[in-house]
């Protein structure tokens, strides 16, 4: 059985890969969300702040435009528990910067380059993510 969400996942994935290809072949940069954002907020990417800001602005604006113009109901199903949101946000931001990448940089751009670091990072965060859901959902029941 092929679920429609798998097809959307594949198409969306191809577009995400295309975005990374444009960034690499156009600007010679690796499209990693935590790197683009992190370099802007901590000042380490000051030299390219304009490119970074434009990338992020489009990343926010394009889905907004699509949702508004096509009248799609986009759902995040995000939790309303502020403690969960703050804790998760701190962990995601801190961890991604310490590891020098997240799902886009290490996952998409790293694995496609057969980077040992990218593959290792992906194994580590998938493992930790699985344990996290097991713990917080099934054991503690907070999510």
């Amino acid at each position: 059985m092929i679920d429609a969400s798998y097809i959307y996942g594949l198409i969306g994935g191809l577009i995400i890969g295309l975005a990374g290809a444009v960034y690499l072949l156009g600007n010679g940069r690796i499209m990693g969300a935590s790197g683009v954002i992190g370099g802007l907020v901590d000042g380490s990417g000051r030299a390219e702040w304009r490119d970074r800001a434009l990338f992020i602005a489009s990343l926010v604006a394009a889905p907004w435009l699509a949702v508004t113009l096509l009248d799609i109901e986009a759902r995040t199903n995000i939790t309303s528990n502020p403690v969960v949101l703050i804790t998760a946000g701190l962990l995601v931001g801190f961890g991604a910067r310490l590891a020098n990448g997240c799902t886009s940089g290490h996952g998409v751009c790293g694995i496609s380059r057969l980077s040992l670091r990218g593959i290792a990072a992906t194994v580590f965060y998938l493992f930790a993510g699985g344990v996290s859901v097991l713990l917080f959902k099934h054991v503690l029941g907070v999510i």
Binding site: L25, W64, V92, G95, C102, S115
Partner: protein
């Protein structure tokens, strides 16, 4: 030129994340929930994204320079460091807890409500905390 390329890439990234369903925290947590109602969608997203990206890496080997000038990323750094392992585990723990990572959290900012904003604000805080943590680590080494 560089700005236009960055904006195009950001827009494609955002649309791809929206279409793929990765802005939905249930899908991400469903993928990680191997003991619950497992959702394999994320594998299709990652698999799909790797195809154009792998082609782009190959193409970059045959080109002297990127279209807008400059240089391609340095040859592969292969060292799996403690920072990479620990950082990825911390990141993964937060990713599972909220079902959001940096890209989708920004792509969903316009419709994610105050919850999405609080997550992004906390994530930026975490990114800023990583700076002194790295300095501290380097001073110990």
């Amino acid at each position: 030129m560089r700005g236009l390329i960055a904006a195009t890439s950001g827009a494609l990234f955002g649309i791809g994340l929206l279409i793929s369903g990765m802005v939905d925290t249930n899908r991400v947590q469903g993928w990680l929930d191997i003991f619950g109602d497992w959702d394999p969608t994320l594998a299709f997203v990652l698999g799909g994204a790797i195809i154009p990206m792998a082609i782009a890496w190959r193409v970059s080997e045959y080109r002297k320079a990127p279209v807008a000038g400059g240089t391609f990323p340095l040859p592969l750094e292969q060292k799996v460091t403690t920072d990479l392992a620990v950082g990825s585990m911390i990141f993964g723990a937060g990713w599972g807890l909220a079902g959001l990572c940096p890209g989708p959290s920004f792509a969903a900012l316009s419709f994610g409500g105050w919850e999405g904003l609080l997550f992004v604000g906390s994530m930026i805080g975490g990114m800023l905390l990583a700076v002194p943590a790295r300095h501290f680590r380097n001073s110990m080494a």
